[in-house]
Structure formats: structure tokens, C-alpha cells
């Protein structure tokens, strides 16, 4: 299809051709022509956020919960710079976004015009790719390319910066079918020899482990299904990064829980002691490996990743396999079945015996109290109350995020939305809004901290306006708990600026926004209060007053190895837990 239209109309037409139904945005001078084109359109719903950072996180929440590309629309200058945190977040977590930004007219670029900033310059290192479109006749191609680049290969955010005169200019629109990127063709399928070598290694393993990550989720639901099938066929234990939770069902006996800095004892020790490690769509990030030279010293490592630059970046692997997780898992399943391979069952049984002894340490145990709500208990009760529902969980960043990862259990992919790579406080509420928009009938809960939630609190207003009944479940410990925990560990308990002074009254705040506020501070009242929260068809802020002193365990202190993990009963050794070298790490 080719047709004459204005640049602004092309943006809307390209959205329609790409199947976009919802966009998150905020208007301003440099995008007014696009907003005008939106005015005449009923097929695309625009969700007006209250801050452009939230537009980006909402688009992320939308994308991660639905598998579609998230779209945001912002104005030039401050609109674009406000979106930067969300773009960087999406880059780190490989989330497909297309961000349309307005720019000053082409003849003004470089003149420090009102609300001008070098958007492509600023966003170059925090996007997968970006474009400044100077000619309206390039616009349609660039827009379709942007959607292609955002979702193919390792997904990521793409910015299309459009000067205002280009939005007004008339040119030729071409449909998406006529567009393929000139050069960008990610490799999806692995070489047959590599698949054969991988299944041979797995079949000969005595202490194997699957270490999976966000790549399995990004690859789509079929990848999760194939992971389950391959795990069932082989009997291999499975652990996952924070990003990968839900790809493998938590209720499955082969599930070891999350690994890494706040992962389970059994997952981390199994990583340390395994003889064959199969890393699927994860990237050996520092939260996972701990001290690199002590990371899983005896294992042969297979690494499946769509991005060749993830391979041998931190950890040298023995068998790199570049390809899409789903396709590679499919090939592994076929090869395993086709050749009728069997794992050494005796050795595997012994390995499971060892793992069960580690499990016996019950590493997530905490001391229950019937006078004060323990944060872990609050998550457990939330989980029990919602597990049979159609539920999506987002989080902010801090202790509450880790407790959510440990105590909320996921059976399906795309249900757990958290800022893993960038660790962005303020992610959870806008992400919940995006997820709720994609799944209007579902229960969406942002597990929050009292500090983080204040970073994008204003989005309560968006939730109320668009009738998005998200639930903000605040574990209110009156501290930036994760900061306090580190100060306890590294800085002699000097709690410099980590106490949450002058907190707002969250119940009144919810009401001021037109939502519902609930407060609970007694373990005995918790279940009823959670039930009340679930039953309200409105945005809710739940102020759950929890123990201020609780720390998050297990913990592998920075610079330590997996087998040097701290458990809650060893909390007294905290002072000596971190080496001087470890203090340099974050």
C-alpha cells in the first residue's frame, strides 16, 4: 500500500499497520501534529500518563505481560529526557519498545531552540537503535523498521525522533509488507553439530543443571513449554534468574527456586557443584555469578543466547550456541527424543539426593511473629490469596522485590514484571498500569516499598482516570530497606539517609487520588485486609506496616562465591561478611 499523507498521519497509520492498540504518552509542542492525528482516530487508545518515565515503564509492563511491542509518544526536550530512564531500563531487560519523540523543526536543530535536546545523541547508548527522520519520505520505512528492530533478535527499545516540520509535511506512505531491514538479520537456529554436542554433554552429565533467564520468556510461550518438556525428558534440576521467573513452574519438583545474590541455598550450591551447566537465555550477570573466579569451577558450560555478545562476556563457556531460545530448545528436544537418549539415572538420583539435603536447610525460613507483620509473611499471604486468580505481579526495587521473588511463586511466563538489569525504583506502578491495560480483567499487583513508590506515585492519577484497578501493595518498613541492609553490612550500621522520614499517609493519599486506601499492621488482620483489596474494583494503595529490622536472606555478599552464602541464622557474622575488595562492588 502506498498513499500520500502527512508525517503525523503516517505515524498513526504505521501504528495501525503494526497492530498497535494502546500507546502511552504525554503531549507537548513538538508532537502536537501527531496528537492532532490521534484526535481523529478511534482505533488506537492513548493512555495519558503523568510523567514520561512512566510512559516508558507502562509500555514495558504492557510489552512484558503481552509479548507485544510497547509504544510511547513523548514531546521534545524534557519529554524525551524524562523517558530516558525507561529506555535504559528496557535496554537492560531486553524489552521491545518503540518510542516516538517530537523534535524541533529541522531548520532549528542545533540552534538551542526552545525544548530542543539532542535526543538521538542522548538515547544512543540506552537504545537498541535510534533514528532522526529528516525527510517525510523516509518516515514510513523508518517506523516499520523500528518495530522490526525492537522485536527481532534480542529485543530492545528503539527511538524515532521526528522534527515538527516532518510531521506536517506530506509524503508517500508505504505499508509494512514492503519493509525489511537492509542488514539486520539475527541468527535464530543453531548448527546441528552444536545441538548434537549439547545433548551428548547433557546425557553424559552426572550433576547437570539448567540455568534459565529472561531470554526464555522473551522468546515467547512456546519456549517455556519446550523448557518444561526438555526438563521433564531429562530430569535435570532447573533454576532461573530474577528475569526468568515463571518460565518454569514453581510448583514443579525440579524447580530449585531463583539463583543469585538472594537466590536459594539449593540453587546456588547446585550451580557451584554442577558438572554440566546449561545456561538458556541468561547472561552470567554479576548478581548471578558472585565472585567470578570461584563461579561453578568444575562445570562444563553450554550457553544458549540470541545475542553473540552475551557469550564469553563474563564467563568463558565451553559450548556457545547462538540462536533463539525457543528454537534451540525445540532442536534439543527433537535431538534428545530422536536419538532416544537417557541420562545416567543413578548419578542423577545421587545428585537429587544432594540437592534435597540442601533443600533441607530451608533457607527461606524466617521467624514468624504474631504481633508484627514480617514482610515475608505478607508476601506469603498475598500469594495464598491470589494464586488461583489470573494475576500479574510487578515490583519496585529493594528488599520487597527480593522477597516477592522468593515468596511469590509463578507457574506461567509473562506474569512477573520487575526491573532486573537497571534496578529502577519507580518501575512497578507504571508497569502495573501497562499490564492492566493489556489484561483488563486480571488482577495486577505492584509489590512496592514505601520509598520506591514515591518515585512514580503520580501515576495513581492515571490509574484512576483510565479505570485501571491496579493494587499497590506497599511493604512499609519505613526504611530504604535494601540500603539499610547494605549499610548494616558494609558501613557499620551508620544509616546515612536511608530512613524514610515524613512519609505521606498512604491511605489518605490513595483517597486524594480517587482510589481506595487500606492499612494493616497486625498479622491477624492481614488476610481479611488483602481480601478487601482484591475485591475492590478500583486502584488501591495497601499500606502494609511491616517489621523495620528484617533483612533479606539468603545473601551472597558482593565479591563472594556461591558457597559462601549467608543464611539468616548466620546474620551475626555480617560485619566480617564482606571483604575489602567486595566493598568496591555494588
Amino acid at each position: 500500500m502506498t498513499k500520500e499523507m502527512t508525517g503525523a498521519e503516517m505515524v498513526i497509520q504505521a501504528f495501525l499497520d503494526q497492530g498497535v492498540e494502546h500507546i502511552f504518552g504525554y503531549p507537548g509542542g513538538a508532537v502536537l501534529p501527531i496528537y492532532d492525528a490521534l484526535f481523529h482516530n478511534n482505533a488506537i487508545e492513548h493512555i495519558l500518563v503523568r510523567h514520561e518515565q512512566a510512559a516508558a515503564h507502562a509500555a514495558e509492563g504492557y510489552a512484558r505481560s503481552s509479548g507485544k511491542v510497547g509504544v510511547l509518544l513523548v514531546t521534545s526536550g524534557p519529554g524525551a529526557t524524562n523517558a530516558v530512564t525507561g529506555l535504559a531500563d528496557a535496554l537492560m531487560d531486553s524489552i521491545p519498545l518503540v518510542c516516538i519523540s517530537g523534535q524541533v523543526a529541522t531548520h532549528l536543530i542545533g540552534n538551542d531552540a526552545f525544548q530542543e535536546c539532542d535526543t538521538v545523541g542522548i538515547t544512543r547508548p540506552c537504545t537498541k537503535h535510534n533514528y532522526l527522520v529528516r525527510d517525510v519520505n523516509d518516515l514510513a520505512r523508518v517506523l516499520h523498521e523500528a518495530f522490526y528492530v525492537a522485536q527481532n533478535g534480542r529485543p530492545g527499545p528503539v527511538v524515532v525522533d521526528i522534527p515538527k516540520d516532518v510531521q506536517f509535511a506530506t509524503g508517500t506512505y508505504i505499508g509494512r509488507d514492503n519493509i525489511q531491514h537492509k542488514t539486520y538479520r539475527p541468527k535464530l537456529d543453531a548448527e546441528a553439530e552444536k545441538i548434537a554436542a549439547a545433548v551428548d554433554l547433557i546425557a553424559s552429565a552426572k550433576k547437570p543443571i539448567f540455568y534459565t533467564g529472561g531470554g526464555v520468556i522473551n522468546s515467547g510461550p512456546e519456549a517455556s513449554r519446550l523448557l518444561r518438556e526438555f526438563a521433564r525428558l531429562t530430569g535435570v534440576p532447573v533454576t532461573s534468574t530474577l528475569m526468568g521467573l515463571g518460565a518454569f513452574p514453581a510448583a514443579n519438583r525440579q524447580w530449585l527456586g531463583m539463583l543469585g545474590m538472594h537466590g536459594t541455598y539449593e540453587a546456588n550450591l547446585a550451580m557451584h557443584d554442577c558438572d554440566v551447566m546449561v545456561c538458556i537465555g541468561a547472561r552470567f550477570d554479576d548478581r548471578i555469578t558472585g565472585r567470578l573466579d570461584a563461579f561453578s569451577p568444575g562445570s562444563t558450560k553450554i550457553h544458549i543466547d540470541i545475542d553473540p555478545s552475551s557469550i564469553n562476556k563474563n564467563v568463558k563457556v565451553d559450548l556457545p550456541i547462538v540462536g533463539d531460545c525457543g528454537r534451540v530448545l525445540g532442536a534439543l528436544v527433537d535431538a534428545w527424543k530422536g536419538r532416544g537418549l537417557k541420562i545416567d539415572q543413578g548419578a542423577l538420583d545421587a545428585w537429587w539426593g544432594q540437592i534435597d539435603r540442601w533443600r533441607g536447610r530451608n533457607c527461606l525460613a524466617y521467624r514468624y511473629s504474631d504481633t508484627i507483620i514480617k514482610p515475608q509473611y505478607a508476601i506469603q499471604r498475598l500469594y495464598e490469596a491470589t494464586k488461583d486468580k489470573d494475576v500479574y505481579i510487578t515490583t519496585e526495587v529493594g528488599q520487597h522485590q527480593m522477597w516477592a521473588a522468593q515468596f511469590f511463586h509463578f507457574e506461567e511466563p509473562n506474569r512477573w514484571l520487575t526491573s532486573g538489569g537497571l534496578g529502577t525504583m519507580g518501575y512497578g506502578l507504571p508497569a502495573a498500569i501497562g499490564a492492566q491495560k493489556a489484561h483488563p480483567g486480571s488482577l495486577v499487583v505492584d509489590i512496592a516499598g514505601e520509598a520506591s513508590i514515591q518515585m512514580n506515585m503520580q501515576e495513581m492519577s492515571t490509574a484512576v482516570q483510565f479505570d485501571l484497578p491496579v493494587k499497590v501493595f506497599i511493604l512499609n518498613n519505613k526504611y530504604m530497606g535494601m540500603v539499610r541492609q547494605w549499610q548494616e553490612l558494609l558501613h557499620g550500621g551508620r544509616y546515612s539517609h536511608s530512613y524514610s522520614e515524613t512519609l505521606p499517609d498512604f491511605v489518605k493519599l490513595a483517597e486524594a487520588y480517587g482510589g481506595v486506601g487500606i492499612r494493616c499492621d497486625k498479622p491477624g488482620d492481614l488476610d481479611a485486609a488483602i481480601q478487601e483489596m482484591i475485591n475492590v474494583r478500583k486502584p488501591v494503595i495497601f499500606d502494609c506496616i511491616v517489621d523495620q529490622q528484617e533483612n533479606c536472606f539468603p545473601m551472597i555478599p558482593s565479591g563472594r562465591a556461591h558457597n559462601e552464602m549467608l543464611l539468616s541464622d548466620s546474620a551475626e557474622d555480617l560485619d566480617s561478611a564482606i571483604t575489602d575488595e567486595g566493598k568496591m562492588l555494588v
Binding site: 544512543r124 542488514t183 567470578l292 545475542d307 568463558k316
Partner: protein, 171 residues
């Protein structure tokens, strides 16, 4: 990273890219953002119809870092191809320099003698100066400039390394 115990290697990379705005900024930003070294960098359009530019980068790092650099470059959307000329086959490397020397009397004679030995050409002369043009491997140019110091070196302008593989194949 604990890999620092590995030895540092110098590699010459050829990178074929779409000649579009910002592509050089992307490449340079990758090196500065990730802390890689650039010893030399040259860039010029090589195909007008294809809108292609060729970037030659000389970089240094451990083998693991060099592999990272290649993969990171390859993953930039406008990059067509990355070739490691140091790793792959025998290749040719050349650099061009202009060397300005000032002096009178015996120094002038010595400058011309050195130029002759290095097969440098005189491309500008005044009563008290020369500008020489010299082409060759970088160490040859280093050596030429070093010897000229005693004669009266004023300044040097160098293009940086360009490189190509031997034999009939394109990169």
C-alpha cells in the same frame, strides 16, 4: 575482571557500515561506554551507490575483550560486517603521515637523506622547512618521526591505519 592476567593483544578490525548519520558516534560511543581502547581509527565512504563506509579500528585487549569488541560491533544495527584482519589471515596495513621539519644547513641535508632512506616525498619546501609525505606501516612512521626529532621535527599529521586482506576475497 579477573581475566586481566591474560595478555594484551593488538588487533586491526575492519567494519563495514551503512553510511548514515550517527554511525561513527555509535562505534565510538561503544568503545568509550564499554571502556575499550582505540589506538587508531579511520573512516571513509567506500561505496557511493551502496552508501557504505569502511571503518578501520586498531584496538588492544585480552583475547576475551577482543572477542567482545567484535560481537558488540556486529550487533550495532547499521553494521554489515566485522572482520578481524589480525586474527583471520595475512593482511596489509598502511598509514600515511605528513611530517613537517624545520632547519637550515646540514640539518636540511640530513632530513633529505633520511627521507630518501624511508622513501618519503617532499610535498612542500621553504628555505627553512620541508613537509614530507610518507606511507608505510605505523612503526616505520614512528621511526621516521623519531629520527626527524634530532633534525628539527615541527609536527606530524597521521591518517591512522587502513588495512585490507591479501588475496582475491572481499571482507
Amino acid at each position: 575482571m579477573p581475566q586481566t592476567s591474560e595478555h594484551i593483544e593488538r588487533h586491526t578490525l575492519s567494519v563495514l557500515v551503512d553510511n548514515e548519520p550517527g554511525v561513527l558516534a555509535r562505534v565510538i560511543g561503544l568503545f568509550s561506554g564499554r571502556g575499550y581502547n582505540i589506538d587508531s581509527l579511520t573512516v571513509s565512504e567506500v561505496s557511493q551507490e551502496g552508501h557504505l563506509s569502511r571503518i578501520t579500528i586498531v584496538t588492544a585487549g585480552t583475547p576475551m575483550v577482543i572477542e567482545q569488541i567484535k560481537n558488540q560491533l556486529d550487533r550495532l544495527v547499521p553494521v554489515h560486517r566485522v572482520r578481524d584482519l589480525t586474527a583471520e589471515a595475512t593482511s596489509l596495513e598502511r598509514e600515511l603521515a605528513m611530517v613537517k621539519v624545520r632547519g637550515v644547513g646540514e640539518a636540511r641535508v640530513e632530513a633529505l637523506r633520511l627521507a630518501e632512506a624511508f622513501r618519503a616525498r617532499v610535498i612542500d619546501a621553504t628555505r627553512e622547512s620541508f613537509v614530507f609525505e610518507i606511507t608505510g606501516k605505523s612503526d616505520k612512521i614512528d621511526q621516521f618521526a623519531y629520527l626527524m626529532e634530532t633534525v628539527g621535527l615541527v609536527e606530524v599529521a597521521r591518517t591512522g591505519v587502513v588495512a585490507i586482506s591479501r588475496g582475491p576475497q572481499a571482507m
